[in-house]
């Protein structure tokens, strides 16, 4: 419960007390609740950014602390297959996707964000992968799902899921990012949490078949240059994909992180265009049509084009360029106290591997190299780290990533100078967290 911006509400504290007291004897429970409620009354109004010890204490039942034997050591827990499909601990119930309701008219055609501030390593658990729907999540019976490949091909083909899963499979770890990630902040900051500034981003191990293998099965005619991918959902989402990408690293995937795709992620099968804007990775994929020209459908004209300051607009802006953000500290993860701390974050590039990440403590005046840790994979989230000392000094904390092409993540001013502030998509600017002398972290922009 430490990872919140401010203290939980009285109502939440009360609920927590009741939950925590489950399993106690009647006397223990009565005593615990009495003490707890008194504590809640004392701290309900307290803002606790930068140190949630008061809230923590209110939650902790001291009879479970040493030298006492905790309650769970004096009883038995539940047995196997009580939960045939396991769930996270009830104490992790705050680790959830969240939405910003005023971004969209309603929740069916909308977006939610991944709680990046809670994640470890580079893999996003399936239940926390950000959602983006244009017509809600369809309920598809895989036995009734078909994928048709037609158009400029020698043999138009229709596949069942069984057919698709008989091809030799490949598994790759790739990030998936909505190009609108961060797009609410071209003019200025609006979001007071990492989950909302950068949470349209996830990274999974995807398993499926190279699209190349399917296209070879159908035999693309020489005049075929583009492929229209279309979903089976009510929006029938469609995008034109250049044939080069389809023959390069595009995949038809049916699994993520070891299990079949979640319905939210396109069950039973989706397209995956590594490193490209998430919208092109059509979910619930039902049709691939090979053509000689792009289709200019709604999602590649009205949307997912980038309006410049002079009124012209960029089309087919596919690549998610090199980007990074510090995940600890961040607004949801304030610094808890003086001493040695690890500054951690994630970096990614749609053009390949991350080569280097630098960190600035002074708003970009000077920079210190950070270390990459764990796996460093092409077009995947890459974790970076810098251990340093914090003694209450205010920081303007930034990360700046460089990818293997040598591209250096730009400043927001550099992007605005070229694109203006109305392009919505592809804002991959260096991000700034302002750390106050209490350890509290705010989202700011530096110019």
């Amino acid at each position: 419960m430490g990872n919140i911006i401010k203290g939980p509400s009285t109502r939440e504290l009360m609920q927590q007390l009741v939950t925590d007291s489950e399993g106690m004897t009647v006397n223990d429970r009565r005593d615990f609740l009495r003490k707890g409620i008194a504590a809640v009354g004392g701290m309900a109004a307290a803002t606790v950014a930068g140190g949630v010890s008061a809230a923590d204490n209110a939650m902790v039942n001291s009879t479970n602390l040493p030298p006492n034997e905790p309650s769970w050591g004096r009883m038995l827990g539940h047995g196997v297959i009580e939960y045939p499909y396991g769930q996270p601990s009830k104490y992790e119930s705050h680790v959830v996707r969240r939405t910003v309701p005023w971004l969209t008219a309603e929740s069916i055609s909308s977006i939610s964000m991944t709680p990046l501030h809670e994640l470890k390593g580079i893999i996003t658990p399936n239940g926390l992968v950000f959602e983006r729907y244009h017509g809600g999540v369809p309920t598809i019976n895989p036995e009734e799902h078909r994928l048709i490949i037609h158009g400029l091909v020698e043999r138009p083909l229709i596949f069942t899921m069984e057919d698709l899963m008989r091809f030799p499979s490949v598994s790759v770890i790739k990030f998936l990012e909505c190009p609108a990630n961060g797009g609410m902040e071209w003019r200025g900051t609006q979001m007071e949490a990492l989950q909302f500034t950068h949470g349209m981003l996830s990274c999974c191990e995807w398993t499926g078949v190279p699209l190349k293998a399917l296209l070879e099965e159908a035999g693309v005619k020489p005049e075929g240059k583009w492929v229209l991918a279309e979903g089976a959902d009510g929006a029938h989402m469609s995008r034109s994909i250049p044939l080069e990408k389809c023959l390069d690293d595009a995949l038809i995937v049916y699994a993520q992180n070891g299990e079949m795709l979640r319905p939210e992620q396109g069950y039973p099968v989706r397209l995956m265009n590594p490193g490209w804007e998430g919208n092109t990775s059509i979910k619930w994929l039902r049709r691939l049509e090979v053509g000689d020209k792009p289709w200019y459908h709604r999602e590649e004209t009205s949307k997912y084009t980038d309006l410049m300051a002079d009124g012209t607009a960029r089309k087919f802006t596919f690549v998610q360029e090199c980007n990074s953000v510090i995940t600890s500290p961040c607004p949801e993860n304030p610094i808890k106290g003086s001493g040695m701390i690890e500054i951690e974050g994630i970096a990614w590039s749609g053009r390949g591997k991350i080569k280097q990440v630098d960190i600035s403590f002074d708003g970009g005046v000077s920079w210190t190299p950070a270390n990459l840790k764990g796996l460093v994979l092409e077009k995947a989230l890459t974790r970076f780290s810098l251990v340093t000392k914090w003694d209450g000094q205010p920081w303007l904390l930034q990360a700046r990533a460089i990818d293997e092409t040598g591209y250096v993540q730009p400043t927001l001013q550099q992007l605005r100078d070229v694109r203006g502030t109305e392009s919505i998509y592809h804002k991959n600017a260096i991000h700034t967290w302002q750390v106050s002398n209490t350890g509290e972290v705010k989202n700011v922009q530096v110019s």
């Binding site: 293998a213 309006l307 960029r314 630098d358 000077s366 400043t411 530096v446």
Partner: protein, 342 residues
Amino acid sequence: MFKLAKPTLVAAAVAGSLVAGAVNAGEQFGLGRTATAEEIAGWDIDVRPDGMGLPVGSGSVLDGEGLYEAQCASCHGLFGEGEGRWPVLAGGQGTLADERPTKTVGSYWPYASTLYDYIYRAMPFPAPRSLTPDQTYAISAYVLYLNEIVDEDFVLTNENLADVKMPNEPNFFVDPRPDVANTRCMSDCADPAALQVTGSIGGVTPVGHFIEGADGPAASHDAQHELEKKMEMERLKELGVEVEEEEASSEPAALSEAAVAGEATYNMACVACHGAGIAGAPAVGDKAAWEARIARGMESMISNAINGYAGDNGVMPAKGGRADLSDEAVANAVAYMAESSQ
């Protein structure tokens, strides 16, 4: 389901021998079968700027007007101005270089074919793929008319759609990125005295998620609608407008067993339209909208909900488009909506 063995080495070897010497590497696995022309035709709904894919058909601006008002106006506004946060369809021409550009079909979209394609594949929002080609031509014609791209006597057909020129077409160009070249400066990269630090505008941001929990105003579209409704009432009151206070439901009417059972279905399947009352759907809680319907009896409402219903103000697709729902689940959801609206 999916309990398939991986292709064995033997199978792979057999398949391999089939392609030996073949020009196309294609038939290595021989999986899938040839799709029939009929199968493809049913799903091949896309159209392109050059007119490829357009079915034979036509629709006039005049025909489109009625269809638009019935099927589209509840979200997009009578003149394409957009209700709430739903997309604005008309106007905005000449604003793309402004401080606050208005991107609409007329001001921004490069091709008229996109209009036909999108309406046919995804509109109206609550009942995708419910329009015929002729209806789609008519609605497309009307939206073009709202944008002053065609005249009121225009008839859009598969023959002339590719000839409709959109004013903004010349202004799109292919992605030139990388378009900025930052360098890996390590020290003295900026003048510390000149740094401007700007924070966020208080109150806009959704930190309420973390303060108020999952039912806080910042956390869901429902809560957001409630909040905005309240703010609008307060604004009207300040202006001295007489507003009808919603009766404070001191004790919510007890729901029947069916209605209680139907709440979950409502939240999952019906709320998209019946929550805010879009596309002609009566909004839950809007007593006036439900009164006449309730008077016609539960049986009629349930039958319309299960089988679908085309009214003057919009279309209720069968089971709200959720064919996976049982008749009982739909009936319960109707009970929930009706009982919550009287």
